[in-house]
């Protein structure tokens, strides 16, 4: 180790202090989504699915039924589940204590990141990205600017 290496690490430390200050004072969004909304959306989802499958069962052409079932499941369920996931995260943001939310080391916070992921990516891919964020990125002692899409960091720095 030489002194120049240490100075590089110290420069990083100074950046970390700026991010830490930002993290400690940033505004935390509190959406109006409550648990009642989640229950309603879940019930609605079950109702749609049940009525749709009932309708398809009335059609007596098996090939068409299977094809429509698969298409319907992929398109509707995936989109609706992503919407439901966003609402669940918003519900967490509504109820979670401030001290719990201030633990997050990342910018944007993990819940905001999750919402961005659900809006931008398919459900499975979004879930993988969120898992990585929660268990790998938001861990330890390093504050990071981490967006789910390219150029996100640049947008913040502007």
């Amino acid at each position: 180790m030489n002194y120049t290496d240490y100075l590089k690490a110290k420069k990083e430390y100074d950046t970390q202090r700026i991010l830490e200050k930002y993290q400690a004072t940033r505004d935390l969004p509190r959406p109006k989504t409550k648990w009642v909304h989640i229950v309603l959306y879940a019930v609605l989802y079950s109702f749609f699915m049940a009525s749709a499958f009932l309708l398809f069962n009335l059609i007596n052409i098996p090939t068409v039924r299977v094809f429509v079932d698969i298409l319907f499941s992929i398109l509707f369920s995936e989109a609706y589940l992503r919407f439901l996931c966003i609402k669940i995260v918003e519900c967490y943001q509504h109820y979670a204590k401030e001290e719990t939310r201030r633990r997050c080391l990342c910018i944007p916070s993990c819940s905001e990141y999750a919402i961005l992921c659900f809006k931008k990516y398919e459900l499975i891919f979004a879930l993988f990205k969120i898992r990585k964020r929660l268990y790998k990125t938001c861990k330890g002692d390093i504050y990071v600017l981490d967006f789910p899409y390219k150029n996100g960091n640049k947008d913040v720095l502007k």
């Binding site: 002194y3 240490y6 690490a9 430390y13 100074d14 633990r103 997050c104 993990c110 268990y135 861990k139």
Partner: protein, 211 residues
Amino acid sequence: MSDTKYLKLARTARDENNGEDAKKFYDMVRVEDPENGEAKFFYQYYSLYEGKNIEIANRFIKLVNAIGSSIMMIAESSDSDADKLATVTAIVNAYVPMTWSINRYMNNLTVGSGSDRQRVLSASDINSACQTGVIGLYNLGDAIEKHFGDKPEAMTLAATAWKEGVSLQQKWYAYKYDGKTPEEYTAKIQKVEPDYVMPQKAGCISFANKR
């Protein structure tokens, strides 16, 4: 004693971030005046950056061990109060960013890439540096409190060291710190800065209460 030629040169080199010259001149000050606390601390400080990476943890322990005696020597020197305070400020400014930076440096020393990426230093070395550094931060604050407790400016410096210690301990909560707890030091900081709030344990999924 602050006016010796070598001490001036050492301080100039320190301001210019010239570690090599600073170490050389502080060594000369040590020979000239073995009871100079500033020289004792900064000689150890600059010695850290020489030698092999594997020795960092041991040299860091030497530096931390020098903190208490350096502050005591500064307090007992014949310098003016302003000079003493300036020296303590320099020590605090030099030492406070060190623990995190050294840890970062040690963690970044890797070989290979992708899944083959491995750290050069062992986990025990890195953990030892973390613990030593945090204990050093607490000791630095305690030493300042012990010798300069009646001066508000010095107590602000002590609080700076304690705050960094608490902040790091809340991030590296899995290690043991000689029975020193963040709550204990938060109480001390709040005597100096009543508005201070202890930071939360870091990480969204930290399992903090289970360890």
